[in-house]
Symmetry: D3
Subunit: 326 residues, 6 copies
């Protein structure tokens, strides 16, 4: 499997594949790859502003470099020289039928995980955490899977109907895919969910950091604690809802909540996490292009994926970062 | 039931109620009203650009007059002096669960029709034609109900799953709510649905006018034919998908199709229809505010409702139009 | 007074002066010019969407040609070779104090008219018709001044307070600046003003053409009638509210009303009027840039000015149009 | 007075009332409420970008939760369980007549204060600080009223005419509603007002913190000083101009000034203030939706109100914050 | 060469290929195809608003149907069942080096024409007409090539430097690629080019129709004349600048000119032309996405391509149109 | 040379001149001025989003104060009282011909520098650093010129063709205009340029600070080091690419890169630099208005110029800052 930039391929950030990576649609051809990127274009289950279905396309387009070379100046590595990464296309979802869409997503993620690569799923709304993480956890069972969850919202509510972009963590714990004490949440704020859901999370052993904690302590010490909390867990899923950032940095999202992280804090945090813990899956969700007039939210999501890959490449290479220095 | 503009009510096009009409949420209090306006904020079933869930709010806001007086200078009547019209609020839909949402819409429309008023439903995506028209037809059964359908798309496709914004007419005919020979469609164009669906419509006796017909003949003679086609039908439902207009006039919609009607053609047509045929229900659908940067699509939908009401008022008053003339 | 394009002048549609015409700020230096363009950046008196204060700048910027040459291919003349036109800058208005602003506008227009040139005023909201036309009429008194008024709204309402963008014609007639029988309105539609205002207009001898008339007859015959109605009037003021066009063509305006003219109908009409009647003043008003995301409304207003100038140049040259023909 | 969420109420952030609170338009019915929210939709007096008249509607719409429950996870309280809050609608302003509008605003605020609740006014441009604070001060006279003023601009200029969005503090001090030594300003920056106005403020005993101070010291110590400066004042008015935040966080405002606060700094500061000092009135002003393409400025204003209420609820409850902790 | 829609391909209008057609990047593999679609993402030579470089991507994305089936209800044919059409990707242009970019475009178009298919080029700015038409003409030399040119601007100016989006026709005639008497232009309007360029065009035998002609006569008779004018020409190139439409229909373009065609007039005209004359090449140019906030210009360009293909398919099939009729 | 605000000059942020400064187009009239502001409206050489050609106009318009008085409250000086500053208009560029445009820019900058004033160039894309700095260095030769370069991108790449917005520093060093050891870069991040270009920069003695350094250390200590690095250099050019800021603060730019500076950090840094080092020239580049929907990027660029001028004025005045203090 080689990465080739064919002359004649459309040059302006095109929506073809992520970073002009090869498109590998058949799951059986994924063997040998380290990472497969998958779009999950859903938004039926959002309760506020829709549009996340257009997220995967916008994230892929949020690039401006030709060819597949992305040397990271802060780690001193090009992730695509260390890792074999492919684009697995988008799941064929069924608008308005979340059970059908989730089933298709679950199968696609399971197909990736079964073939070997680590999946990076581009959402889509956050309800896909249920099939995303569920599929990864099922594959690894009975080994323990941890979750690092960046979000303004805890997404662990009890609601009827059960499928929603506010409920995936509840469903994952209830079904046994995750254990509460292996979940760490970062960036919570605002007026949701209600205390009863926090009480439930507490009873399950969840740990979390509100933005208020981060403002008091700084993001670096909080990431230290996150890493300490999950020490020893063999497989970690990283779920990033772009609304963990302040709407200034991520206006194009379904339920923006003022008072969040700066982009630079989040980018650094995910790279550090990816270079430290053994990732079993990643999702970047809730990019809603119709509310992203200058395209900066899709751009942020795109770079989050690159930073995750850079961190993973560093971890794989076994060395420490060798930033470009004068 | 009196229409009151209370001092202190928010003056700038507010999202409160349509034209500052009284809000009457209880179906039992609807008796005595002539028309009840209902929002149906759905968009799960759209196949392209979402956002129609925000349509009812945007349509209600697309006003700039204070108080509830809207004298129509072309007919010489204020519809609100002739008709008692109320705002019945929005249906409580369940995002991501179209069967549940459609059930709720069906109940709400049935509740209106059962109480007496004619419903005007503000969409929401066009899938709601199924519960909208179904509820009206059920109420009137076994009397014959006709349909005048302005749309770029025939919306009578056979697809799996069956619920979609492209299938309501198929479902309505199959279930017996409508008979094909009582359906007239205006404004079709483009590359959908496939010939097999046209073949089915033909077999059911549908009549339709493509934009190409209208360009050749003019809109007035086409409306003449529409009215002639439905002559003698006792109850007519009017379904207006704003995408029947060219995207220049209605950019804020889910599946815009270039080459459509001008706004002025459509406004005049719906008023003429409303002043001529006995309307049993009306829907104005597929306004998608996130794609409507200057708000002109919501504005058009708002005026379509006012023109329908003006036409109905003229018909009710029994006279002919007395336009403001020098 | 020479028109010079100095090397180094900013080339991209700049907001400097209209069509890079010379800026002549002192009224006493206006003598010898045929036309003076004046910005009146007000919007305090609008009842709906503000932003017209930014209109003059946006209209001046809506150009893409360098230098001051605008040969009109339909008349076969460059208006700037026939007419001496200057930019007189903007009136220094006082935000929130319409009486002060109107007084300043009145003085500026009177200053132009007194010095000789015909004023073309770029609005600003339509309330400025009061000082614009009032100043021109005062100058010409007791000669008769007619008004051709393109607008969706009659703007002749009785309201308290009296100053508003919906009242200028009422004030002008009441104060004797205009006589009702010398006023012709084109493009009226919608639900305002109330019948009592139409009744008053009727009593004063106003004539008007609703959009409904134009749809029935076509724009050309309507312009024929307008010209016939004002035959013999020695001085005609032309007031163009861009909302006479459909919102598709003029989304960036304060009170858009669906169902209006096409841009091409209006452009042709104003040129024909300007080439036929003796214009004493012109205003193009209600361009609101914040609601004009692609800038097409300012562009239309800019071209309306050029078509007026082209028509005037043709009339001045005494010949008939010599369009560019193969 | 009970808070009821009626089935059928429009679910998508609707512009009805703030947080779906009950609408109480009659001042006499306000007795018993703790807080009344009032819209003041003005923008005539802005000197730059208009649009703040559309602020109250946009702020009310910037919500995504159904029903009236907003548990604050950082204080461990739902403000609506502690405080009785109602929506008092919008003032009926008179566009273009700021004296009339200000008189109406003053009466409405006085009506609230007279009936008992603390007013929270949603602007509107900042000129409303004059009637807002004036009415509150008149009610409390001769007790001392302090002011905490978050803003990029000191708004204490001497200008002719006197009413403007840059002059309210000057007017308030001159008329005796406030004393300079009870005023503390936070966030000043840029090139306005001129030194003479600073000199005047100094002579009156104003205290202020420029952004440059905050960059040097951090926001927390500055809030400490603010609280210390007003220690012992029995009634504090809190005036928040959203332009105190950097345009990244609040692009939708009339006179944005780069270099401001982050949203998270401001949200935390207002909650802390509200939980510490005895508030007599609050205003959140200068949200201009036409310049807020993704709606994040209205969202910020909405959350500022919720944080104020949360802080007040905490103070009322007498305890200390009990944040949701793992 | 088969058209395959693989399960898993990204479903939402993706930027992959036009209408999900197969991507065939090697010119040698083009043999056997009837039409090859090529993107030419340039905009360096525009004199006003840039952005056309993003046109090819936006046009490809302006679709909402899955799979490659586009049955045209007005002709009764699916162009993709009659014609073999492929997407040949984008030319690798060199930003800022128009000679290099034009050379690359010329080679790519020549490569297509040499391999057999008819090229359809998606611009990019209109300067590409020079290499587009030049390459086609060179291939067909010495046979006569005609040109039908829809545009607001004649694009035949003499300017220094010679390459620009306003000069391609001049260059093509000067170099002998086209003869003036085989050129017909439709839709000219405005104030450019100057009379000297019209004089030159006249001397070369150009024919043209200004919008003013079309307003007088109607579009259908004008198309009749266009077809009559080119009768007997064996190879016709069709060049469509989207700015031939009014800015209402095509706001997203570099030099919008009010007063143009309606989309429905243009769509019908190009289909009729394509079904009547032997096309040797087609270009659709000047779509500028940054000025197309609702995406309707890209949508129009996309449908123009589909109508051209539909017309060609009808001509190829040898029959007459069999529209879907009741 | 006096600064006069003539009554009647257009008041709303007009695009005329920067801060309503006098327009001085002839280079020979520049003698005696301290600073001349020059627009360089290019964008042909950008590799991603175009639009920077519209930057100079937008930056000039990003003002809201009348007259030419901008007292800086943080330094206690009005730069326009200390320095004589004029607006030298825009360079007449040739779209699509970067060599011609660069030659014209070089001549214009040389003309300013030769006449005496320090040039401040408003871009335009960053390729203009080549003529901007080249012209200044040529003038000062053989004295040493240093460069402080704020940017997300190092812009020192080796690429073919050599002119691009990614290569100016390479060209400047190669041609001897700058020496690598006199260059300090601040804000680098992301995945470009490749390691070979960093290696080259290292070999030339460049110094740089990645965002990662700044996150670790804080901006103030980094500016300390920048100043120390250039100590003793007699002439410093300051080049500010607005993309050094995070896209939240500067969305309207050609190649936005998440993770950058806050506006307040950059504003403070440039003022401090301008008050400390002897500036020989300044450029503020890469503002792209089509991607700046709320105008905040142009606003930031405008304030960066004011902060530079404030710092220079402070340095010129010889004293230390006297901020407005209570």
């Amino acid at each position: 499997m080689t990465r080739v930039h064919r002359p004649g391929e459309p040059p302006y950030g095109r929506g073809g594949t992520f970073a002009q990576l090869p498109l590998v649609l058949d799951a059986e051809e994924l063997a040998g790859a380290d990472v497969a990127i998958l779009g999950a274009p859903t938004d039926e289950l959002v309760t506020n502003r829709p549009g996340a279905r257009l997220g995967p396309q916008a994230i892929r387009n949020a690039d401006y470099l030709w060819g597949t070379s992305r040397p990271n100046m802060d780690v001193g590595l090009d992730p695509f020289e260390v890792l074999t990464v492919v684009d697995h296309g988008d799941v064929e979802v069924v608008p308005g039928y979340p059970e059908l869409s989730h089933r298709a997503i679950r199968e696609a993620v399971a197909g990736i995980a079964g073939a070997g690569p680590m999946p990076i799923i581009l959402g889509g709304d956050h309800s896909i955490a249920h099939p995303d993480i569920g599929a990864v956890a099922a594959r690894l069972h009975p080994e323990r899977v941890g979750l690092i969850h960046f979000d303004a919202h805890a997404d662990d509510a009890y609601e009827e109907p059960r499928l929603s972009h506010g409920t995936p963590l509840r469903l994952l714990v209830e079904e046994g895919s995750l254990r509460g004490e292996h979940i760490v949440q970062v960036g919570l704020r605002g007026y949701w969910p209600p205390p009863s859901d926090f009480e439930w999370a507490r009873s399950q052993g969840f740990r979390w950091f509100r933005m208020d904690d981060i403002l008091g302590r700084g993001i670096e010490p909080v990431v230290d604690e996150v890493l300490a909390d999950l020490e020893g867990i063999q497989h970690v899923f990283l779920s990033v809802d772009v609304d963990v950032c302040d709407p200034a940095f991520a206006p194009g999202t379904g339920t923006p909540e003022p008072g969040g992280l700066q982009a630079r804090e989040l980018l650094r945090a995910v790279r550090r996490i990816a270079s430290t813990v053994p990732l079993a899956g990643v999702e970047v969700v809730e990019v809603s292009p119709p509310f992203d007039p200058a395209g900066i939210t899709a751009l942020l999501a795109h770079r989050l994926v690159l930073e995750v890959l850079s961190g993973m490449a560093l971890r794989r290479s076994g060395g420490s970062a060798r930033p470009e220095r004068p």
